[in-house]
């Protein structure tokens, strides 16, 4: 009798765990569609540009792995700078990224993005493919999203690849160029980011 009760309890715990795992895991394509739907609402023409930027910053803070992108864009320099410099960089990069990202997107109004497929690269990454639907002013644009899925309950965007052009890679090469042009001095990059944030 007691063993039956134990088995029932054990089965209940296992089922509950499976259900809870299942219900909290978010599929990368669903995550992307939900994020673009939120962004699309934020870009509604009824909002002013400042309101759009504020809303986009909020969405980006919740859905983009800003720290991960920051470290990626530092390239090999992330291995050579001090822990203090990394901390300083993370703070600056977050402000820079949110300003730059929201300012870029705020130019669009009511964009319609359709998720079309996904491809799991490995446990950590899934690529989600989508299209920005064409309008009279612009042709259809293909956008791929690199989603970091290490924590399936909280997927995060790590890169946008627009018509094959990676924004993270472009950013990385831009930062690398600034550091190299100044004899490897990372502080020049920090000052450049500070100027941009102002």
């Amino acid at each position: 009798m007691q063993s039956e009760k134990f088995l029932s309890l054990f089965a209940f715990v296992i089922i509950s765990l499976s259900i809870s795992n299942y219900s909290y895991s978010i599929e990368p394509d669903v995550f992307v569609q939900s994020t673009v739907n939120r962004a699309s609402k934020a870009l509604d023409n009824k909002f002013s540009k400042e309101e759009k930027i504020k809303k986009l910053m909020e969405i980006a803070s919740q859905t983009v792995d800003v720290n991960g992108i920051g470290l990626y864009t530092l390239g090999s320099y992330r291995k050579t700078i001090t822990d203090d410099q990394v901390k300083q960089y993370k703070v600056l990069f977050r402000q820079y990224f949110l300003k730059s990202f929201s300012s870029r997107l705020a130019e669009y109004s009511n964009p319609e993005i359709e998720v079309i497929s996904k491809k799991k690269l490995n446990e950590n990454y899934t690529m989600v493919s989508s299209i920005l639907v064409s309008t009279e002013k612009r042709p259809e644009v293909k956008i791929d999203w690199r989603i970091y899925t290490k924590n399936p309950e909280n997927p995060l965007i790590r890169d946008l690849i627009i018509e094959g052009l990676s924004l993270a890679r472009t950013q990385k090469e831009e930062f690398s160029s600034i550091i190299q042009s100044n004899d490897g001095d990372i502080n020049v990059l920090f000052n450049t980011l500070r100027d941009f944030i102002k």
Binding site: N67, G68, L71, Y72, G75, S76, Y96, S100, S103, R104, E107, K119, L121, N122, N124, Y125, M127, S129, E136, R138, K142, D144, R146, K150, R158, D159, I161, G164, L165, S166, R169, T170, E173, E174, F175, S176, S177, I178, Q180, S181, T192, L193, F196
Partner: protein, 260 residues
């Protein structure tokens, strides 16, 4: 003599491309030699600044004016220019071994030039032809395994590489049927003026289509020159790979090192 000089220049550019590509590192660096090195960065930046000034004074205002034209006129112009570009794309499809695509593009060119009235209407698309993808001799060299060589910024023409510049020279050495017919055709209908006009309109059409995106990129870049260089080189890599698959053209190695 002119042809000899151009041929010599192409050989030189391609030879340099092969040499510049032998060490296998793929970072964009002056210190670490890579697939595409910015060997002349100082000069390139000056040329880039010159091009930006030309853009502000000439190309951007002209592109804005062009954007003011009625949509059917712009669409027709853009279609006609795209149709002419098939004359470079088709031989490159063949040179890359894409015979089926060459056939499709030849059919598209014939239909659009006749039923589409010198390409003004994209009839082929309406009757279900697949999406047109431009090819050029720089891409073909890339497909053949020729390295990009050094990155270059050409006056007026903008970003390029040794390989892509060599590819452009092929156009005027007989590789572009439109150039041959208009400049050396010895006919009463076409002159080199038509060729130059078509090239200018093509540039203006491109600029007009990208007015906002280029402005946006410039406004949000901390090093606009480096952004343009990166985008150009990524775009060429994607085009040479002739692939729509993102995972085939993007190396994941660096991402794997990034943890939470």
């Amino acid at each position: 003599m002119k042809k000899f000089l151009i041929t010599f220049l192409i050989s030189l550019l391609l030879a340099s491309s092969a040499i510049a590509d032998t060490d296998g590192d793929n970072s964009l660096s002056k210190k670490n030699a890579g697939i595409v090195r910015d060997c002349f960065e100082s000069l390139n930046r000056k040329t880039f600044a010159l091009n930006q000034n030309l853009d502000r004074v000439i190309f951007k205002p002209v592109a804005r004016g062009y954007r003011g034209l009625p949509t059917p006129i712009r669409t027709g112009t853009s279609n006609a220019i795209t149709n002419i570009s098939s004359l470079i794309t088709i031989p490159n499809n063949v040179l890359q071994g894409e015979f089926k695509t060459a056939g499709v593009n030849t059919g598209r060119f014939i239909i659009n030039t006749t039923a589409g009235i010198i390409g003004i209407f994209d009839v082929a698309e309406k009757i279900g032809f697949s999406k047109y993808i431009k090819e050029d001799y720089g891409q073909t060299f890339g497909v053949w395994g020729v390295g990009a060589g050094c990155y270059l910024v050409l006056p007026v023409l903008g970003p390029s590489t040794f390989r892509d510049t060599a590819g452009s020279f092929i156009n005027v050495l007989g590789g572009d049927a439109w150039y041959n017919a208009s400049t050396h055709g010895n006919n009463e209908y076409l002159t080199s003026n038509q060729y130059i006009t078509a090239k200018l309109v093509s540039g203006i059409d491109f600029r007009a289509k990208n007015l906002e995106s280029i402005d946006n990129l410039e406004k949000n870049s901390v090093d606009f020159y480096a952004s343009v260089r990166s985008l150009y080189l990524q775009d060429r890599k994607q085009k040479i790979a002739n692939s729509n698959s993102i995972t085939e053209t993007h190396d994941d190695g660096d991402w794997e090192e990034i943890e939470d």
